[in-house]
Structure formats: structure tokens, C-alpha cells
Symmetry: D2
Subunit: 349 residues, 4 copies
């Protein structure tokens, strides 16, 4: 089986497994108080260009959990979070944000992105409404980078969102589940330091970028909520063996591994894109990162699946075509890509 | 440093790391739909003596998360969960159960255990109260086995609880965070099959019994809530790389590893208990499992810590003594124990 | 001051005040167990053509509270409620539904109404998505009748919604905050018995139709959730002096008072509509019920307010015009209307 | 039927009905923005000795709703509320506080009262526990005055609680569902101004002290949460016809009516107590307010009920005796009391 189904189809980068093995018998305290969490946090702050006073790092097992804990602990009772209607929190988290008692306020998605002017207009309109105490206050902007469609914010776009948030004194939160691929894209216009400067909180994805599990939340403006450890525990997000997260992020942020993984994923994604284009397919969206969204004839899709190629259903395009997602990641190999090319070449027209 | 601080101080049993490495590059679908989760579930059902029709197994990252998801998805809107006042859900989960909108109804703890007659009396009194619609209905009994104090239910006690629950048609839920040690204790009167037969749902702890992370929830009476995957996702408890849990539990339930780990922990705990008793300390509670609770003079406690021995504070006993917890686990060695013995021998009187 | 600001600007219909006075010293049990609640429920069931076995009636203080309690107690853990994007639960309840842990899934609003075919398409698409366990299940359809725009469902439209709900086995819930005016509209195509037959649960508004406070929830299919009294209490919706609700609804459903109030409101609304049309204003929407939505030049709006006429801001229409809402109700008089006409005539062009 | 079942058995004080009638046709804005709410708030602040800057008043329909909204909007994410185990929020609110996601942390009840030293000890122990981030922080003290047992705090006791709260910087919240009777008790040691000075927030009960419905929340330290109107709406606690609450409290706080009602209830309760004592019954608790708790032989209880006297079951005392509650209130008459006396005299021994 050759799988392009997602960027979490395999285990972990070998360096991570090696680090887990090497440290395995070394005792440590639980709940994120171990030396690896401390070391990983320091390395991440350094990579972000943040001082100890400005920044704080916390580790959580998965993305939905991270979004729920961060959003719930930053929003006030009367606030909801603005997000693109295609955002992960809007659609694919099983109502996890609503479960915290807060509404997701949707904005149009432009290839997955929130437009700063539209966000500002929403907020202006909200405060212009005479009965706005009956409505949910826009209390945060959530964006994903790369987005669920693989697209990236430019520095100008991110700056504009930052300015909207600053004007209305609400935090800008960036979901970086696939940040590694976003930073290494040829189209990347934004660095980790830019993100640390322009957002109030963001997370650096591990699960989809070479870790077994784990995401690193970075508070950038001396704004970690009081007793955030409790807020994690209350939502089941505090791992007893916090070391498992610390060791992995310590490894990812040593010797440029996080960048190396991102670069590898991007290289393979570009090759994947070429193969699909050469096979004559058009794309639902032009993605510069590790996820590609070709429009396949259903016949081709069935042939691929019958040939042992795993891809993700995205949505029906028309009666006879389907948008699918193929993802490259740290573990994608040229052999995988060559095999795909061969199968596509053999597919009946 | 020698640590007896908890049973989650080290990484994972080497067989687990080996399995993670061996399978690392094999692609698989996400969210618990992989072949290892399937295989692990089958092995666990077999070990429990449950058929496919009766039993269902789900994997979740940690214990608090497991308790919150299981309890919230089984309780009805008007119900709360009965638990010992010393139960994990009552005290040390940061209000995670209340966060799901349900009250923890406390019963007296008898060395950490719920008494079936007291539970029955509580329920009887509840229904006898003329205004009970204004009160929270007792809708489940939660027990931990071993308890937070290391103690174990006898088969008679577990049967009595089963009968109370059957009489009032509410589920009995057993938190088996340390179940491996409970099953292998010399005092063990209850088997895995007994638990599967007498409870409605329970979980088999991985985090504290040799896994990196993970707990296996077992529904025993064809009673897994509809769309439980969604209920997990909604609470941030659905791991994208479900394989990480599947591979670990598949390993734990192959070749008797789970039992071997339990047996090892118990052997070392017995030796630990002997060392503490020989050093002249009395015990806060007589624990037959892997956690031991000696009452130490504060001076001794300070000396231990200064000597690099990590133990857990439990509670103050009196002005000059403290109850501490020392735990043995799969990774505890004779060297650790001998070193502790030596340090205790050298401690000033 | 002349107020058309809403349909809750005055106290209660005199017959209600009279009934409250008449019964004032008669002792009764609390929490809705009094004889008036019983009598009112029986009269409402009769008016709905429901038998005791099919129907059950509960009384709650206000509309948002009613929506939250009904929706939360009928939805399953994995479900949300479908509603028009302009629906009250979507926009103007301060996130009260999300606060119960459930998402409001929005459908397009057609003059405030949900289209049955669009609802069916949403549900079909949902189940067609391969990863729908990560999404919120459509578990109910919420409609308001009259809608927030004053419009009404036809019998054909309501039947179509009923059929969609029946097909997917989810309840249809009708918010009748202004039901009295909807039933008495000249355009009314739907009777109370139709509503009782075609919905699974609905509420008959009191607050906006002549009561001091109060709404009557009608479960129509022997489907009142178990221990609904507890579910109300848990959400602060169980009034100690339930008699206050019982006496009012007993009065409203005696001697045709509810219909009389509806008819009065409609007559005055028609006259209001004529006055506005004759003054040359166009309407944002063509409403056949007690709320009217003219588009006023801002200059006119300011003049009205300066002249002591209270109306509700609805939304900005363009740079120089505003949509406002004027409502008639049981207490609207011809004097109010004549005065409005006079002020409009005097308004500078 | 003669009812001593509760203090909410009848409608409203005639002066309130009169005020509702008098103002009935006067139009007003909704949601508590009317002139009566404004006037009532000003009178309440004056009665409390609070300036506009210090104090803020909000009106809510009922007690459980008030407790839930106030507690949820004042607690931080990591906090719970300390209360006596017999407190209304602990036992008889159907888990309404837990439903807001916060735990009720119970302290022993001393005739219904919280002991300041025990509260301080709880807090001290909490912060002394090394793993307190896993526990719920004590973030507020809730007391009721009179308590659920009719008892009252002395000025010294209230001052001590105030000092504990000030020391740990958490609010003291007083539930005054029956405050009118507490202020007028012969044992009253505490004035309204004392309460305003020593608590951070409290509510003045209307429902049980002569109003149809309604409670007045008083924030005393310039500490009303931002956008509290939204927090009420989100929890279904914002009445559209806020005037109904405003008119009632404006009446209660005019011409000493609230005091007059309290005094009447106390006078009748004292007479009630004498009748019960003279009939030879002992009391479960010595209550100086409007609720009395005699221990009745079950035979007598049955005789009373058969004779048309309504009382509330409180709890079983022993095999043959029951504790019942009899309440006096604004509407209790000498005729009621004389009839009770006569029935008791005729009861078989």
C-alpha cells in the first residue's frame, strides 16, 4: 500500500524514536515539569526570537485539544472566536469549541484564509448593532497557517490581521498544525519570528511534522493564562508523561530537524504536484505546501484505490469528479512518488 | 537521582519502543482505524473473555481524559457519578468531571474504596426524598482498582457493587489506571475476566503500566455509546495517530507482557515495603500493590530528598511527620532499591 | 412616548392581571405542580388536538431559556441543531445554545425561513462525507414561526420540513415566541393543530402575546425527556412560583383570549403597515404578522425618535437609510397609530 | 387547605399587584433598561449604603439562576466555590453550578453555616498541597443568610468570613433568598448595610419575600463583571420584560415594604414556633427566622396532611418521626395559625 492519505500516516522521525530510546530509563517528574520540556521550551523560544519574559511554551497531545484549551482559556465569558468558515475549528473538530461554551463566529474563507478587512468589518458592524449585548462578542481571531487548503498568509496579510487584533485588543491565534511545511514552502513569506511577533499565541505542530504526537503552544506576549496547567488538566489535556512531549520537541528543535522535516515534505509535495499536473489533472486550489488537492475523475480515483493507493476524499466536484487530498510528509519517499506516477500512467483513460 | 516519585517516571517498556520502531514506516489510517488498534482490541477482548458482540475497546491518551469522556457520554442529563471522596475524579482531576456538566456525588472512602451498602443506602435515600427532582440523580458508580491508596476490591466487594448497580440499572465504571499491578498483587482476588463480567465499563491503564501513553477503555455489555468516536473528538480525546496507542496495547497484550510488567512492579513494591518496614517506619495504609505510603519523620524526608531520592508528598501526618508515596513500576530495579536501603541506613536518627 | 419598539413594551393583558389578583391568596405547591399549571396544560393540549398520552406541556419564563433547555435536553452528545442563519438561536441569544455544548449549524435564511430541500441536502451531504464523525451531526431542525422577519411557513413548507425530519429521525422544533400573531395573520395557512401534528416540540409564546412572562413548551409525540423538571432546574429554568406561569396560560387559553390577542395585534399591524406605505416607505421584507420592517431615511428616523416615537434599529440599509422594526401587539391602540401617522405627516421631507 | 409548605405558596404582596396594574400600559424598553429597574436599583443602593460607583444592581427571575450566573461569571477557569455541604448550591439546585463547569467544594455545615476558621483551614491546606494545580482552586465562599436551616450569621461571623476572603482575595457571596426575614428576625445582628460592606456580592430575595418572582443581585465593590447583561442572556437569565422585576423591586424598596413583609413573616413564624412547642414537639434546629423545623411523629404528620395542612418533608428523623418544615411568609394569617393550633389539639396522641 502506498499512502498519501495524510501527513500522519507513519510513526515518528527516526531521530525522535532514537531520543525516546536513549532517554527511556532516565527518571523524571510528571506533567511537563521534566528537564526535556524545559529544554525544548527554551529552544523554541530562541527559535521564535522571544525572551523568557515575553514567551511561554506548553505542550499538548493533539491539535483539537490544543485549540479547545487555548481558545477556552483566553476567551472571556461573553466572547466567541472568529474563524474562516472552512477553518478546522469551524468544521472538523466535532464541536469541540462549542463544547467549551463558546461560539465559533464564521467569516468567509478565501482559499482557507481570513481576510483582515472582512474581520474588521465584522467587528465594526458588531459594535454598531444597538443590541449587541445579545450577540456573541468577537473576542479572538483564529487562523491556520498553512490553512486546511494548504495556502499561506503573506507577511502583509498577517500584519493586517495583527493590526485588526491590536486595534480591537483581541488576541490573534495561529493554528500551526502543519507549520513546518508552511515555513519551508518556496512561497513562504513569513518566518517563525514573524509569527511570534505578529500573533498573540500560536502552536507549532508536531503530530503532522515528524513527531509521534504533540503540539507546542507558544504564548508570545507575556500572556499565558494564570494556572494554565490547571486549565489543561481540567480538559484532559495534561499528559502524565509530559516527557514524551518534551523529548520530541527537544529533538525537533535541535540541529535544525524541524526545518529539515519541513523541507523534505515540501520537496516531495512539489514532485507530487508535478506528477499530478503531468497526468493531466487540474487542481481545486493552488497549494504551495505539503497538501495537494487534485480533481480526479471518479474512475481514476477508483483505479487508484484499487491499486493500493490511499488518498483522502475532500469533496465531490461534480457528478463524475471528486476533489481528493494527497499529502506529503517527512516520511514520503521517491519510491512512493514513482509508484504513484506509474499507476497513474497505467490508469484507463 | 533515584526516583520512586510515581509509576510514570520513565519512558516505556523496551518491547514497546521496539514495536514502535519496527512499525514506524508502515503507513496507516488515522484516528484509531489502523490494523494495530484492531488487533489490540481483539487481544484485549480475548483476555477479558468478552465476545465481539459484548465488548468494544477504545483507546485514549490519558486517565483524566478517559474518565471525563466515559462518564460524560454515559450519564444522562440529570445524573451525576457516585465516587469515594478520595477518588481520583473527586479530588485530583481539576474538576474535569464537573467541566462536563455533571456532579461527582461523594461517598465515604474506606481505604479508598466505596462500600456497596453505603452506595445502596445513598441511592435509597435519594429516591426517598420528596424533592429529589431538585437533586442530582445517582447515575453511575465510579471505583478505582487499585484505588488511589493502592488497595484492592475483593471479589465479594466487587460483586456487591455490581448487584447494587444492576438493581438500580446504573453502570459500574472501574478506573484501572494501575490495573496491571492490581491483577498481579499477591492479594488479588479478582481477575480481568471478573472485572469484565462485573463492571459495565472499565479501563486498562497503559501510562502507569509500561506504555508511553494510553489507556484502553472496555465496554463490556454491548453498551458503547453511539458515535463514541465523535464524543472523543469533541473532548479532544481522539488521537490523530491512533496507531501510537494501538501498537502499544497490541504489544502489551502479546506474550503476556502486561502481566509480566504487573508482576515486576509488585515484586519490587514488596521489596520496597520490606525496606521501609525494616527501617522502622509505619504505614499510613496497608497497600498490597505498587504504591506504598510510609509515614516519615520530616527530617528523614528531607534527608532522602537531599540524597537525591524522589518521593511524592501525600499529606502532612502531624507536626513532624509526613505521609509520602513511593511507587514501584516496570522500570524499578534492585539497584534502586538497594540504594534506597543504603541511604535510609545512613539517615540520621 | 409612543412605542412600537417591540411586542414586550407593556405589562400584561388585563385579564391576566385580574386572574393573578383573583388567585393571589390561594396557596399552592411550587415548581409547576399547582392546579393552574395542570389546568393550563389540559387546555393547551385540547387546543392542539393532542391527547394526554401524546402531549405534555411545560412552562418556562422566557424564550432563550426555553430554546436552551429544549434543545440541550433533546440533542444527543454528537448532535447540533440546524437553523436559519438569521434564526434567533443563531444570532441573538448570546451563544446560549453553544453554552449547552452544542453547535448551531446554519442554513441559508429565506426571509427568515429554512428551506426543506436545503435542509435535506445538508443532511445528505453530511452523511456522504467520509469523515463525518469529526463533524457535528445534524440532530434537530429549529424554525421560528413567525420568523424573526415576521414571515410564516405555509402548510406545504411545514409538511416538507416534517418529512425531512421524519426521514432522518430527528425532531422538528418550532419556536413560537410570536405564535399568537402567526395564527391570526390573514396569511395564516397553518393551525395550532397542524403545528402539533407536524412538529415534535414547539412553544407557545406568552411574553410577546399578552403575558407578563412565560412560554408553554408542548411535546407532541410522547417525547418529553425523562426528568425534564430536573433538566429545567439544572439550567435555572424552573420557577419556584410556577403558579405565575400556570395562571397566565390558563387565562390565555380560556374564552379564546390567546386568539383575541393575536387578532388584535394583527389588525393594528395591518393599519401600521398601511400608514408606513402611505407615507411612502418601502419595506425590507413583506411581513404578514405583527412586526413591520420599513426602510426609513435616517433623517426620518431621527425625527421620529426626537418626536418621542420608539422603534427598533434593525440594520443599516445604505449610507442614508436604516431598516427599523415596528411591532404591534395586544396593547397597541388606534391612538398610537394615529399619533404616528400625524408625526410622519409632519416629518420634513 | 392551610399551607405552611413554603414561603412561595401564594402570589405577591397586594402592593406589588397594584403597582403592576398601575404601570401596565406604560411602554418601556426591554431587558432591564426601563425606568423602574433604574429606580429600584437606586433605592436598593441607598438602602445598602452604597454609592453609584461602588454598587451595581441586576435583576434575575429566580434563585438557582441567580446563583449559577453570579458564580459562573465571577469564578476563574481554575476555581470552584466553597459552600456548606447543606448549602442550596451543594444539594438542591440539580447540579446547576457544576453545569457551569465549576465544582462546589464542600465545607462542614454548622446548622447550615460555614465556619470562617474551617474555610481558612481548607484554603491553607489547599495551597500547602504540592500538587494543587490538579485540584480545584477555592475561588469564592458562598453562604446563605438565613441559611437553608433558618439560621443567621452574627456580625462577628460575617466579619470573620469577610476577612478570610479578603486575605485570600476571593469574593464572599451571600445568597439572600430569604434575606427579608433574616433582617427582621429578633436575633438579627446584621443589617443590610453590614452585608453590603462585608460581602462582595449578594442577592436580595424577592420570590420568597412578597414578589411574584425575582431576585436583586447587588455587586458591592465596583466589581460587576464586564458585559454582565450578556452573561445573563447566555444563561437564559435575562428577562425580556425586565419591567416586571423592576416594578416589583421598586415597590418592595418604597415606603419600607420589604421590611414590613419581613417583620410580618417573623411575627407569624414566632407564633408558629410557639404553637408547635406548646403542642409538645421538639425542633430539629432552633431557627430564629421564618422557617421552622419540628420533629413530628409520623402519625401526627399523616393526621396533619389528612386534615388539609400542607408542610414540607425535610428528612426522616428516626423510624417513627420525621423532620418537617413549616414556613411563614408575608401572606401567613392568624387564621392559618389558629386553624393549625386547633388541628394539632385534635390530633390523636
Amino acid at each position: 500500500m502506498i499512502s498519501f492519505e495524510s501527513d500522519y500516516i507513519t510513526g515518528a522521525h527516526p531521530a525522535i524514536l532514537e531520543a525516546l530510546s536513549r532517554t527511556n530509563l532516565e527518571p523524571a517528574s510528571g506533567y511537563g515539569t521534566d528537564r526535556w520540556c524545559e529544554s525544548a521550551a527554551a529552544k523554541i523560544l530562541a527559535a521564535c526570537g522571544l525572551s523568557d519574559k515575553e514567551g511561554a511554551v506548553e505542550f499538548i497531545s493533539g491539535g483539537t485539544q490544543t485549540n479547545a484549551v487555548v481558545i477556552a482559556s483566553l476567551l472571556k465569558d461573553y466572547e466567541g472566536v472568529l474563524a474562516a468558515e472552512t477553518g478546522h475549528v469551524s468544521q472538523h473538530e466535532a464541536g469541540a469549541i462549542e463544547y467549551t461554551g463558546h461560539e465559533v463566529l464564521t467569516l468567509p474563507g478565501h482559499a482557507g484564509k481570513v481576510d483582515a478587512a472582512e474581520a474588521a468589518a465584522y467587528i465594526e458592524k458588531f459594535y454598531g448593532d444597538e443590541s449587541h449585548e445579545h450577540m456573541v462578542f468577537p473576542g479572538m481571531i483564529y487562523i491556520s497557517h498553512p490553512t486546511e487548503y494548504g495556502t499561506l498568509y503573506t507577511l502583509a496579510e498577517l500584519t493586517a490581521l495583527h493590526e485588526v487584533c491590536a486595534k480591537y485588543r483581541i488576541p490573534l491565534y495561529l493554528d500551526g498544525a502543519r507549520l513546518g511545511y508552511g515555513l519551508m514552502s518556496r512561497s513562504a513569506d513569513v518566518t517563525l519570528a514573524d509569527i511570534a511577533r505578529l500573533t498573540d499565541v500560536f502552536y507549532i505542530g508536531g503530530t503532522k511534522v515528524g513527531a509521534l504526537i504533540g503540539e507546542a503552544v507558544v504564548f508570545t506576549k507575556n500572556n499565558r493564562p494564570a494556572h494554565f496547567m490547571h486549565s489543561m488538566k481540567k480538559r484532559g489535556a495534561l499528559l502524565a508523561k509530559g516527557r514524551v512531549l518534551g523529548i520530541q520537541f527537544d529533538t525537533l528543535f535541535s540541529d535544525g530537524l524541524y526545518e529539515e522535516i519541513g523541507r523534505h515534505g515540501i520537496e516531495k509535495a512539489e514532485k507530487l504536484k508535478d506528477i499530478l499536473a503531468e497526468a493531466g489533472f487540474s487542481f481545486f486550489i493552488d497549494s504551495p505546501t505539503n497538501q495537494q488537492f487534485p480533481i480526479l475523475p471518479d474512475k481514476t480515483l477508483n483505479y487508484l484505490r484499487a491499486s493500493g493507493v490511499a488518498v483522502s476524499f475532500w469533496e465531490k466536484y461534480d457528478e463524475t469528479h471528486t476533489v481528493v487530498r494527497l499529502a506529503a510528509c517527512w516520511s514520503t519517499t521517491d519510491e512512493d512518488l514513482d509508484a504513484l506516477k506509474k499507476i497513474l500512467a497505467e490508469a484507463p483513460a
